[in-house]
């Protein structure tokens, strides 16, 4: 028994498996785009998915956005106080939310709330042969089931991220201005003078759009590719959440290094 050779073989096998799956996912992405026509020609299909991914994620986004804002306000005030610049609290809260925390945290909450349920739904449809039945009825399951869920997620994500950031700014205002007593005027004016729409807000929206594409694609792919058993579907759900979170963080690093390179 040659242990090192065995290990090497396992490593090779795992690598080939991963790369093969990545290629399969890329091909799947292309096919989803190809069959996306019906998602827009028959808008009710996509609207229904916006309801399930967007509207039903609203509560968790509103509440967590508010709390992240409250914490940022509290911690930010505590730190800024040491430098005697508490009037910069608005800037701190708004910049960290619009640039990073809003898109990233909203995407992670979205992956665990909406992404996992999309995977479960598609996985169960596969396990109970609903997708095959649809295919036998001459209805393409990618066009009818997968693409609307993908686009529903892509459309919902930037809106959710914007709502998250707005709630966070309000949360920071609540704790900083209402409870601690930072000047109301300087909270907003400092914020406005340092937050640029195109640079900070728009880049945040672009980020959340990219995250929306990534998380939605992972969710529909894991569902469609799941092993059609109860165990297979539950594993696929776990993979959706784990892969989405890692993908969001990795993409965030790449996007940040491109967007905010060499400025301020």
């Amino acid at each position: 028994m040659a242990r090192p050779a065995d290990l090497l073989r396992k490593l090779g096998h795992a690598t080939v498996e991963r790369v093969w799956r990545l290629g399969f996912a890329a091909r799947f992405f292309w096919v989803v785009l190809l069959y996306s026509g019906a998602s827009f020609r028959r808008l009710p299909l996509t609207l229904r998915e916006i309801y399930f991914s967007g509207v039903l994620s609203l509560i968790i986004i509103l509440v967590s956005g508010l709390f992240v804002g409250l914490v940022l306000g509290l911690q930010g005030f505590e730190i800024l106080q040491r430098f005697g610049s508490t009037e910069a609290l608005g800037t701190l809260v708004a910049l960290s939310l619009t640039r990073e925390l809003g898109p990233v945290l909203a995407a992670i909450f979205f992956a665990s709330r909406a992404g996992s349920s999309v995977t479960a739904e598609i996985g169960l449809m596969k396990a109970t042969e609903q997708l095959k039945a649809m295919d036998m009825m001459a209805v393409n399951p990618i066009a009818r089931v997968v693409a609307p869920r993908f686009w529903g997620g892509v459309i919902s994500m930037p809106l959710l991220a914007a709502i998250f950031s707005a709630m966070g700014v309000l949360g920071g205002w609540l704790i900083g201005v209402v409870f601690i007593g930072v000047d109301d005027g300087s909270y907003w004016s400092q914020m406005q003078s340092s937050v640029d729409f195109r640079f900070d807000v728009w880049n945040g929206i672009v980020k959340s759009f990219v995250f929306g594409v990534a998380v939605s694609l992972i969710a529909v792919f894991e569902g469609y590719d799941s092993v059609p058993t109860a165990e297979g579907v539950s594993r696929a759900i776990t993979r959706t959440v784990v892969t989405s979170v890692l993908a969001v963080l990795a993409l965030d690093f790449v996007l940040t290094s491109f967007m905010f390179r060499g400025t301020s």
Partner: protein, 156 residues
Amino acid sequence: MNRTVLDLWVGFFVALGIAAVMFLALKVGNLSSARLSETYVLQAKFDNIGGLKVRGPVKSAGVVVGRISDIRFDAETYEAVVEMTIDGRYRFPKDTFASIFTAGLLGEQYIGFDAGGDEKMLQAGDTIAKTQSAVVLEKLISQFLFSKAADGQDKK
């Protein structure tokens, strides 16, 4: 789920999302003040811009009147060319003095305008003639030390 109820919720969600974007743009960001009004572009050349950055503020009498939109290097004159986008509501005389200041001792650097007395105003695309470069801290310190040393020599 009833179709109309579903449509209503989706409509509410999209409206809320757009309201959030508007809130971020107008109340949090600066879209309301600088972007909605007309702007024009001015240029200025400096020997040394220090740590000036694109998107830094342009101030006059302490009020932000514009932003730095571009910084280039002129290979013929070996000077830095700074392009500024100025709020269209404000006009400055031809002999306005543009200097690079630092907010506080170690704060961000910005361009300050000191208005002159000329009757003619700067037009879009004009270059400001009178500029003063950034104060580089190392130079300042070495100057101070040299003058101190010179003082000491004189006394002997």
